[in-house]
Symmetry: C2
Subunit: 383 residues, 2 copies
């Protein structure tokens, strides 16, 4: 097991009607900015609950944070936040609203261009405190310090991580899932699944609890997916799905083990260039990555094949191929297509992505051995 | 899944030589009290590392906190701490030292009798901050707000829980395990195993992640026990054991599920009356509890039998009996005896414990259906 430091102070308030405790979690004084997305919370009743809970608090609203939250939009919130002396941010939404709000939190206190945070040129030294009400299980943003932000002008998408933008609290009521479209639930399932795999299928370091925990979440997702995508999911199905998404990326399964976020990094390019849903880019890329990188991931791939899919017969490569095929079939079972062609993307895009990685000098993977040529190979087998 | 609130801000600093980061974790100013136990840290080199790391800090020492830490001893530390204006506590030891230090932390700021905290008559409203260096994996105290304290004068043993006594940081270096006697490692394995079972074998609430996580820790313990008890354990064996003990009781597997701490409550009486090691009392009581309470625990017992021990043949009761037999055999395989007679305890003690519970009106169990008569039944089948 590798050495690690783990600390996650986010207060999770999980369960039915927990939104009722919002008032007791917010700071009594000061100015709150309530952030949200395209307005679906105004249809499903969540907005009304929030407004009710905010009675007596001083707050302003900032709506319109889009999927793959945009720097350009968020900077408007930063400007308003400065004018209004906002000192608490309440994010109502899914990963995009939460990530965008983390960026606002880090950008509000500084005077230089906050895009530098994404470029790693500015360190986050202070941030406005955040609370969240999660409306879409998927990214795990509600219990970590990570955020991914896009910039329209340059078609770029970058991540930053800081413990200072971890929410002070996150309210998770699984009932919110009942108003979600199938597409978003499927995205959430696949996003969570890939988060786990990226912390699990690398090389073995004999971290038994972390491996079993990662497999626990994968097994839960495989069992729960058909239920949450059925006609009448039960409350507990949503609860298991929602808690899986949070715990997949709160640091606990990734502590003390190598990680490989290449699937995300490659996927971000597909979103930046073609606007493909984040989770769908992961479903495209992951099978290619696992196949191309099988020599260095072999032991964990074999473990994954056996412990998750019960595959024990055949040569090592046959077992790995079968495990990858099962993974693809699982993604497709949620209604998510897994090939570039399914999204109208062809070899031209692959060349663009490869040359972007080449010019940036990006090297990915747990062994730092995935260069632009390997990225090209990975994407070519996903055409 | 039940509603829950989960928050655990303890910073875990885990791995080889992490004691070197102690200096950077301690407050630069103020007065530190370093607490420890019987002095084994002076033989194994840990004390020397601590003294080195404390160079430049202002500190005093308080040694001699015994196993099952005593109110009488701890009150001496409280008195000294008040005289010396101690404002940070650094606990070096296992669960007893850590628990004792939590009591000191809660007792230092108050003027009334701190025993009232154990009796539930005084709420902890403030506490001196704590850091820990764990020397014995077992109780999980390094990542929670719980403590168990004994009182010699009354032969009583009670627990208190407060988020205010959660350590600010805990340093976990698995290398410390190599100097531990087999007996203490065996105790740590069994203590951890029972902690998990008490959060797992109750009644099902369809909490899939929590169940799989609990099973993950049990499987890890079963696999790792013979290794850490062998002649030459590897570093990773100790690391897996140590992380299991911490994660078993940091709240993550117990969130959103019913819990049954009756085994602990009954076991505490055996320690209070006969001085039997805490873990050994659990190994005695648990099999009796699972057997007597099988009607309300049936579904989870069957799940435990199948998922942990692979038992699928026979009637429900046969499967449960076999799972309990396997559990006993596992405990005994670590060298721990599991019957009251093994410790020279007879029916007289059972009567004393039953009458204690009767006079206190204690009712235990996840369904609040274990009264003194059931306790008597549980202990009688463990003679």
């Amino acid at each position: 097991m590798n050495n690690f430091i783990y600390q996650n102070p986010v207060k999770i308030v999980f369960g039915k009607d927990q939104i009722n405790s919002l008032g007791s979690l917010l700071p009594k004084n000061g100015k709150i900015m309530v952030t949200y997305g395209g307005g679906s919370i105004k249809q499903n009743g969540i907005y009304d609950s929030i407004v009710k809970a905010l009675d007596g608090f001083s707050y302003i609203e900032f709506g319109g944070i889009e999927p793959n939250p945009k720097y350009e939009t968020l900077m408007k919130a930063v400007q308003i936040g400065k004018q209004e002396n906002v000192d608490f941010l309440l994010a109502i939404g899914g990963g995009s609203v939460l990530d965008g709000t983390k960026f606002i939190a880090a950008a509000l206190p500084i005077d230089n261009d906050p895009w530098d945070i994404l470029l790693g040129k500015t360190t986050v030294n202070t941030a406005i405190p955040i609370g969240t009400v999660l409306t879409l299980p998927a990214t795990g943003s509600e219990m970590n310090g990570g955020a991914v932000i896009s910039r329209i002008s340059t078609k770029e998408k970058y991540a930053f991580i800081s413990p200072l933008v971890m929410p002070q609290f996150s309210i998770l009521d699984p009932q919110v899932c009942s108003s979600l479209p199938h597409k978003q639930i499927a995205n959430g399932i696949v996003d969570t699944y890939v988060h786990v795999v990226e912390q699990y299928i690398t090389y073995p370091v004999n971290a038994m609890v972390q491996d079993y925990f990662a497999e626990s979440i994968l097994k839960t997702l495989i069992e729960v997916a058909p239920k949450v995508l059925s006609e009448n999911p039960a409350y507990d199905d949503f609860a298991n799905f929602m808690w899986s998404a949070t715990i997949a990326l709160n640091g606990i399964i990734g502590s003390g083990v190598p990680q490989d976020w290449a699937t995300h990094d490659i996927g971000h390019e597909l979103t930046a260039l073609h606007g493909i849903d984040h989770a769908r880019t992961l479903a495209i890329v992951l099978p290619g990555l696992l196949s191309v990188m099988r020599s260095t991931k072999r032991e964990k791939l074999e473990q994954y094949a056996y412990r998750i899919w019960g595959i024990s017969a055949g040569t090592s490569d046959e077992r790995i191929d079968e495990a990858i095929a099962k993974t693809i079939a699982f993604f497709e079972s949620t209604g998510i297509k897994t090939r570039l062609n399914d999204y109208g993307v062809n070899g031209t895009t692959i060349s663009v992505i490869a040359s972007r990685f080449k010019s940036r000098g990006t090297i990915l993977g747990e062994n730092q051995d995935i260069n632009y040529e390997t990225v090209e190979k990975i994407l070519n087998i996903r055409l």
